[in-house]
Amino acid sequence: MLSEREHERYKRQIMLFGDAGQACLKKAHIFIAGAGGLGSPVSIYLAVAGVGNLTVVDKDVVDQSNLNRQILHYDRDIGRKKVASAEEKLQAYNPDINIRVIDTTLDETNADRLIGNADGIVDAMDNYPTRYLLNSIAQKKKIPLFHGAIRGFYGQATTIIPEKTACLRCLFPSAPPQEVFPVVGATPGVIGTIQTTEVLKYLLGTGDLLTNRLLIWDGMALHMDEISFERNPSCISCGTGCGASTSRMVASKNKIREKKK
């Protein structure tokens, strides 16, 4: 049930999806992996939309160099834990929702437990090893994964529904090299709000999701392109695991072993 105050707060979107839709958002739980460039717009827009339960995970401390894009954090937060800063801001945006923050690095030992039975996982990470971990857990627990990534003026997004669509590994079997990536804050703004739109549509059961499609944002040319992709039957995450990427992985592992010898 929505309170009178909530009715007033969400009035303009209840025009779109009614009390029932708003009640769906209120009871939903979304797990947001990362409180940085993407995690900022994602968590802010999910909070103001009234998604009732948000979990935000991050291990970092706010650094001055984060402030050009991580709009959850202010200058006065430098040196503070990102999750403490996030909790304060999100609760101030919307006191009618539950914010749970976790100050940790997601890894194989804790991610499954922390994600629990969330209704959706938002990939707001900055590296592929953790993205692949989120993808595996999403597949195992059959929880949708809302992928986003950025670099400079470029970004990409896709929505993964386990057992129904291709997964992140079908599309990206191998991670690009790690780097300190250049970025302007408007780029995670674009991609983060696309991820948020996807989460809301999924929770409301409306619209066409960005499934089996990779959206590619080019802020320089001001182009948004889309590339269709299919499930890879031999995907190492959602398929048989017999694909070319697996053989490549085995080959490179063997190389490492040989070197050790």
């Binding site: 990362g34 940085g36 460039g37 993407l38 995690g39 990939d123 707001a124 990470m125 900055d126 590296n127 592929y128 986003g148 990534a149 950025i150 670099r151 400079g152 470029y154 970004g155 990409q156 599309l171 990206f172 191998s174 991670a175 690009p176 090299p177 790690q178 780097e179 990536f181 970025v183 995670p188 590619i216 080019d218 320089m220 040319a221 392109d225 590339i227 269709s228 992709f229 299919e230 890879n232 694909g243 070319a244 490549r248």
Partner: protein, 92 residues
């Protein structure tokens, strides 16, 4: 025959995009991308390693369908094809 090659993200910065190529009949996908990428050394090196093999993370699409880079040496390019080449971006 005419083929459209589209680079994205960092590859686009180095090589441009929406490149219409007059390709010879019988050319395979890996050769086509190599020829187009050769116009800029940094662009070429971003896509291929020292042995001229596709870097592991490069994503190739032919008419919207993913082609494993390991299969690009045997995949024929046809007139009117649209080829997309891009690197996944990683930041958040």
């Amino acid at each position: 025959m005419t083929v459209r090659v589209r680079f994205f993200a960092r590859f686009r910065e180095l090589l441009g995009t929406d490149i219409m190529v007059n390709a010879r009949e019988g050319i395979v996908l890996s050769e086509l991308v190599k020829e187009v990428a050769s116009r800029n050394q940094d662009g070429y090196q971003a896509i291929f390693d020292d042995q001229g093999v596709f870097r592991e993370f490069v994503i190739l699409m032919q008419n919207g369908k993913r082609i494993e880079t390991s299969a690009a040496g045997t995949t024929l390019v046809k007139d009117g094809d649209e080829i997309a080449v891009f690197p996944p971006v990683a930041g958040g």
